[in-house]
């Protein structure tokens, strides 16, 4: 019951923080002597280390950030450290945030700016066991469905509305055990994560019915790179250097998957989270599919498409989560100009 590693024991956290700071200070001190030109910058991913962020770890480990003139400090994300909040508080200069989360923040007055839309396709999905008689969206009528909170409910709610099904919502925790033990009929999953966890708990893919929200006109692009307006105004060069270096890191990771996975596993072991190579391999493969969806090209990586932006804005507004859709010109900044320069 008392999963201490997930509880983020406060004392441990403080000590880890102190240690990280100390190491960071020592490292920057050391780096300061040799390469004084590097700009210090802090980045936080929105979750604990995993292949979802392989590109950033690769850019860091392979010295791509340094090559772009940056000294990036990689913060450790997690359930109790929402990246948007750290960005807002100024504890991080740059953050990875979901588009829907960022839109809500912007709408509520937090002046963050999207500088790159890394994940183009939503990997949020609903999975159900075929054995429970669920094959079409309509079959969900009256069923117990596990849903995560907050932003993870926007797409399901619109989905159920679209098919006019009334479901019994069961709050879903961090595990899929309730679903595995048939405590719910359907459960939320990220394609790159929980879906594979279910497969690796002995359920075969052909025993599952999968509903990808992106297949039902509800594609919400997910992870994007965000900075505060202030940061961007002060040093757009550093921000765009980070964006370009990160995308380069992603391309390197796609070209060297096993090496990239090794780096991710290293971060996972350091963070004391369960590390499973095949799971991370799956995650890297699927994340590649949603960063460069079929039909997309590497050159188009990181661009926020207007129709995606408008779709997410519309759904959020209809869901009552935002009053009005912010102007995309103010919300999104493209580094393309800086690339050419």
């Amino acid at each position: 019951m008392m999963d201490r590693s997930r509880q983020y024991d406060e004392v441990g956290k403080v000590w880890t923080g102190v240690l990280v700071c100390l190491i960071a200070i020592l490292m920057t001190a050391a780096a300061g002597h040799s390469q004084p030109a590097l700009k210090k910058i802090t980045f936080i991913p929105q979750w604990s280390p995993q292949a979802q962020f392989a590109g950033y770890y690769a850019a860091h480990e392979k010295g791509i950030y340094a090559r772009h003139g940056l000294d990036v400090k990689m913060l450790r994300g997690g359930a109790h450290k929402p990246s948007s909040e750290l960005l807002e508080k100024g504890e991080a200069d740059i953050a990875s945030i979901w588009l829907s989360t960022a839109l809500q923040k912007r709408s509520s007055g937090v002046r963050l700016v999207n500088v790159a839309q890394v994940v183009q396709r939503s990997s949020l999905m609903l999975i159900a066991k075929k054995a429970r008689g669920i094959r079409r969206p309509e079959d969900l009528e009256g069923k117990k469905v596990g849903l995560w909170g907050d932003d993870f409910r926007i797409q399901p709610t619109a989905f159920f509305k679209k098919y006019s099904v009334a479901v019994k919502v069961v709050p879903q925790s961090y595990s899929v055990n309730l679903f595995l033990r048939d405590g719910v009929d359907a459960a939320s999953a990220m394609w790159y994560n929980e879906y594979h966890t279910v497969l690796n708990a002995g359920i075969n893919a052909d025993e599952l019915t999968s509903f990808f929200y992106s297949d039902y006109g509800l594609n919400f692009p997910e992870d994007g790179i965000y900075v505060m307006e202030e940061t961007l105004r002060k040093d757009p060069g550093a921000v765009c250097a980070f964006v370009n270096a990160s995308l380069e890191g992603w391309r390197w990771a796609f070209d060297h998957p096993e090496e990239a996975i090794n780096m991710v596993l290293k971060y996972m072991v350091e963070a004391n989270v369960p590390a499973n190579r095949v799971h991370q391999r799956w995650m890297l493969e699927t994340i590649k599919n949603i960063i460069i969806p079929s039909g997309g090209s590497r050159a188009a990586m990181g661009i926020l498409k207007r129709e995606d932006y408008e779709r997410v804005g519309k759904e959020l507004k209809e869901g009552g989560l935002i009053g009005s859709v912010p102007d995309m010109g103010a919300f999104a900044f493209t580094c393309t100009g800086y690339v050419q320069k």
Partner: protein, 647 residues
């Protein structure tokens, strides 16, 4: 394929191959049967071990289960206040050393209408027991230990997790409890206890199979709970390992395990520790739906039998080699003399009879063959020596015979016409000697100017004796002949001479005549010879008949008659030996006196040499190439009458 190979090679090949085949069949059967026996033995032993292990785990789990179950029962059926509740929870932790912590977590506002979160939790902390409330920060409603029994409405063991400090693996048993409110049974909360899985780990890790076999435990999700390799615990599931190894069989086995089945893996499973192939067996832990897997290293199971098989294999191969050697030896002992004998037979074939036949002491077929070959060689040698001797003797004899014939021929008059100055008669003789020396002879000589003696004869037998007998007779007649002697007397005298000292009982037929060339009177005596033919000038022919008299030389004192005949000028006489009338053709017919007469009739008109040539030609035509065994001798005489003057 092996046509050109020797017997030894074939023997070795076929004996060794067939023995190897038999050996392989026996070996395989033995291997399979002993393998099955060992496997069966291991299965029985492992069944005991596994049953003991699972029952120890079951005891551990069920004894733990009873505590929250009893508590839930108590909470459902009694009324209690906060102090009493605390006492109960504290007691659970204090009285049960295997329990690490215990809590009673209530549904929102179920214990206290003002409190959404109410969950007192006692837990071991070093030597003592600590307390805390699980609060809104922890948000227990969304944790598996609370949510799963709540939704399933039945007690549940949670998936394992790392407890305080991350070191100790734990699992919780949670029991939902209910209260009847307003006639409906409603969930009040969940009683939960945490236990360390250390004891369970010890039980499972005590499983030692042979050298490197081990046991492991997986949870309901296939997650490794215990495993000799620490990194696998909690990080991997049996399915992620199957994915990493690309082993669908292992995945399938894992699915059977989490379904609570008992059995063996369909194929061999690689040991995570040694990488060896193992047989895996699995049994469910019924209390919490986990599964115990046990790996039996294949090669270790089979170590004894493998050793045995190595020895058997070595013995078999050694035996086969010995067999091959023995076959080589036997084959050599057969083929070496055979090869030698073949060699020797070849040499004998080319005439080398001095070749030495190898001595074979055995009495088998080879021995027989050798002695037969030796016998053949000896016989051949003897035979060839005999043939050589005979040939030499024969050659000598033939050369002697040739000389004898030459002598015989030499004593016969050969110049024709013999008396070129005489016109009153003419003589021509022809003799065709047979292959061997025959006994035919003829002679003619003038006794005085008016008397011509004519003789033809045929000695009995052949060869030298006949030739000598004939020569002797000729000489006697020539010596005794005189102008006025009666031919009968002459023949009697010759007979008497020949009869004396004739132990071999040889005889001779002789026709002897004396022609008075002046008168044409012919006195003659026929001693058993073929009657000559008289050719009258007119053309009529007749055999000179008269009673046959005894052959000459056989009986002393025989009296011979002298007969007389008168030849007119132009008349002739044809004399011959039995070689003429008895000349035989290929069909076995003889020339005969009749045919002779017919031939003479056609050619009597010519001169004497023409007559003999004519008869000789007729005989040749008749006999063609058939070989003749007797001399063919003929003589023609024509009386032309007294010439003018001395003629």
């Amino acid at each position: 394929m092996f046509k050109n190979k020797g017997i030894a090679f074939k023997l070795v090949l076929f004996f060794t191959l067939s023995s190897a085949a038999i050996f392989a069949a026996i070996f395989s059967y033995n291997y399979l049967v002993s393998r099955r026996m060992i496997q069966k033995g291991i299965e029985e032993n492992s069944a005991n071990l596994i049953t003991t292990t699972t029952s120890r785990i079951e005891v551990l789990l069920t004894s733990t289960q009873k505590v929250p179950q009893n508590t839930a029962y108590l909470l459902e059926n009694t009324n209690y206040d906060e102090a009493e509740l605390f006492k109960v929870i504290y007691a659970i932790v204090e009285k049960n050393p295997e329990i690490y912590g215990a809590a009673v977590a209530f549904e929102p506002y179920a214990f206290d209408r003002t409190k959404k979160y109410f969950a007192p939790y006692f837990y071991r902390n070093g030597e003592g027991i600590s307390f805390k409330y699980l609060d809104r920060f922890y948000d227990y409603f969304h944790w598996d230990w609370y949510q799963i029994p709540r939704e399933l409405e039945q007690p549940q063991w949670t998936e394992p997790y790392f407890g305080e400090g991350g070191g100790i693996l734990m699992s919780s048993y949670a029991v939902p409890f209910y209260r009847v409110v307003d006639g409906t049974r409603r969930l009040t909360g969940v009683v939960v206890v945490d236990i360390s899985l250390e004891e369970l780990r010890k039980i499972v890790s005590s499983i030692r199979i042979l050298k490197s076999g081990y046991g492991f435990l997986i949870s309901k999700n296939g997650t490794f709970v215990t495993h000799p390799i620490k990194e696998l615990i909690m990080n991997e599931t049996i399915f992620s390992v199957a994915e990493e190894r690309k082993d669908p069989m292992l995945r399938d086995t894992g699915r059977r395990m989490i379904r609570g089945e008992t059995g063996y893996s369909a194929g061999s499973v690689k040991s995570a520790v040694t990488g060896k192939n193992c047989i895996m067996t699995y049994v469910p832990i019924k209390s919490n739906g986990w599964s115990l897997g046990v790996l039996f290293p294949h090669d270790e199971l089979m170590a004894d039998i493998t050793n045995l098989n190595h020895v058997v294999l070595a013995l078999g191969i050694g035996g086969l080699m010995l067999l091959a050697l023995a076959v080589v030896f036997i084959a050599r002992s057969i083929t070496r003399p055979l090869t030698e004998m073949a060699d020797i037979a070849g040499r004998i074939g080319t005439g080398d009879l001095e070749a030495h036949v190898p001595e074979v002491r055995t009495r088998d077929e080879v021995g027989k063959l050798a002695s037969a070959l030796d016998c053949m060689k000896t016989s051949l040698k003897d035979y060839i020596r005999e043939i050589t001797d005979t040939t030499a003797a024969r050659q000598r004899m033939e050369s002697e015979l040739k000389i004898a014939r030459n002598i015989q021929m030499g004593i016969l008059p050969k110049e024709f016409p013999p008396f070129p100055d005489r016109t009153d008669f003419d003589i021509h003789a022809l003799t065709v000697p047979a292959r061997e020396v025959g006994g035919d002879f003829y002679d003619f000589f003038l006794i005085d100017r008016e008397h011509l003696c004519i003789v033809i004869g045929d000695a009995s037998g052949k060869g030298i004796p006949a030739a000598l007998f004939m020569a002797f007779t000729k000489t006697l007649i020539k010596a005794r002949a005189s102008a006025d002697i009666e031919t009968g007397v002459l023949m009697g005298e010759v007979n008497d001479e020949l009869s004396k000292g004739n132990p071999a009982d040889m005889f001779i037929t002789v026709f002897c005549a004396i022609l008075n060339t002046a008168t044409g009177e012919l006195r003659y005596t026929n001693g058993g010879h073929n009657p000559p033919v008289i050719i009258r000038h007119a053309g009529n022919l007749s055999y000179l008949d008269g009673p046959g008299e005894l052959v000459v030389g056989i009986m002393d004192g025989t009296q011979y008659t002298t007969r007389t005949l008168t030849l007119n000028p132009g008349d002739g006489l044809f004399l011959y030996t039995d070689g003429v009338t008895e000349a035989m053709n290929a069909a076995g017919e003889i020339f005969s006196t009749d045919r002779l007469k017919d031939v003479l009739a056609t050619c009597a008109g010519g001169d004497v040499s023409g007559i003999t040539a004519c008869v000789g030609g007729a005989i040749n035509d008749f006999c063609k190439d058939a070989p003749q065994y007797d001399d063919i001798t003929m003589m023609a005489v024509r009386y032309d009458g007294p010439g003018d003057g001395n003629g």
